[in-house]
Subunit: 228 residues, 2 copies
């Protein structure tokens, strides 16, 4: 029996790098990258390519979703909204929230999966230790799986898999080291493309994870505050 | 109290033209058009613009989803798959099916609606008298409404409205005449951009509707078979 194909959503960040490592254990992964006009897209694309090269993944697809930048509403895509410094102690939805982004991403991933015959979509969404985006919750993905079942051909079997959904960042760091995932190739910063800022939401979550795991982050930072 | 905003999905076809007429009755519509690389996109875009001009709609947004054509898998977007002549007596899913298209369309409509503060998304999906696409069923839209509720901000209230879902094409024709919808500006043919072919799935469904309604279709056709 040949191994089944999967679609792996690879943004180029830490979480998607670990998800790629996990997907490889049980499937033949095809990598999907979304360019949604975010400010650090060029650097993220490089991370995507580096991780795909590292794992010798042949099937790669980049989708241009720059209409997100035209629609605006998020500090990640709207030049008029500054990327805020992190506040990890609030449950408010931050300005970096790109409205309904994951539904858009999963919809295109499902389309590609149905055409190439992949049976799983791996996505590195994290619920607990995340920025509080509403489309990162377990319940959201469960519902989306029902929509896929309902909205695709009867013979199509596609399931969204979220192996990191209940992990904390420190566990993601530890698991990445365990699986020898190439985290030195990843990019997480929302603000810079050369040296990670260390203070945006994404840098703060990442650095806190490394600090809690007691491991040094292999990528360079402009500032490394203590998040413990 | 000011009238609420809505997003109306306007492909430029007959159904979306009627939906636009209906949406205007209860809301201030913003028109959304998706270019997904279909063969007749240019003609459909003209129909979209003509209908928007007719109704003096200021808020218009066109989204480039040409990655659908790159993914392929449908006769509408894949140049290597010919557009078949209609067979209205089969329940098979036709080759024109664009995998999970409506989920992609609704996802981007929801993103736009959340940013502009619209509370309804009007889509001219038809279940009964349709080509049998799985993402055109009432159950699919009901589930997607749950996904919207789960995946957007707590204060966001967006609902997908499908006023045509249970109508037959002949009723769509009659209702369009009743509301004086500008159906002479619409385009439905999957194959041609100058004169509608009259024999593709979309032309056949449309012509049968006009014939059953006992009304002449105002647009020109290369052939008008009897579909009664």
């Amino acid at each position: 029996m040949s191994i089944e194909s999967s679609v792996v959503l690879v943004s180029g960040g830490l979480d998607s790098c670990l998800v790629a490592a996990i997907a490889r254990q049980s499937s033949d992964p095809a990598f999907l990258h979304l360019n949604y006009g975010q400010k650090t897209e060029k650097r993220e694309k490089k991370a995507f390519t580096d991780i795909a090269d590292f794992y010798k993944v042949e099937k790669r697809f980049e989708v241009d979703m720059r209409h997100f930048a035209l629609i605006g509403g998020s500090s990640l895509t709207d030049a008029t909204i500054p990327v805020a410094e992190a506040n990890l102690n609030t449950s408010d939805i931050p300005q970096s929230y790109v409205p309904f982004r994951n539904a858009n991403i999963l919809a295109i991933a499902t389309t590609w999966a149905e055409v190439i015959g992949a049976t799983k979509i791996f996505i590195g969404a994290v619920e607990e230790d995340s920025s509080g985006y509403p489309d990162c919750r377990k319940s959201f993905f469960q519902l989306f799986n029902q929509v896929i079942k309902e909205g695709t051909k009867p013979e199509t079997q596609i399931e969204i898999v979220t192996p990191l959904i209940s992990l904390k960042k420190k566990h993601i760091v530890k698991k990445s080291l365990e699986l020898k995932a190439p985290i030195h190739l990843t990019w997480s910063c929302y603000k810079n493309e050369d040296v990670a800022c260390g203070v945006c939401d994404s840098c703060a979550l990442r650095l806190r994870g490394f600090q809690q795991a007691g491991v040094e982050d292999p990528i360079p930072y402009a500032r490394v505050p203590n998040y413990l």
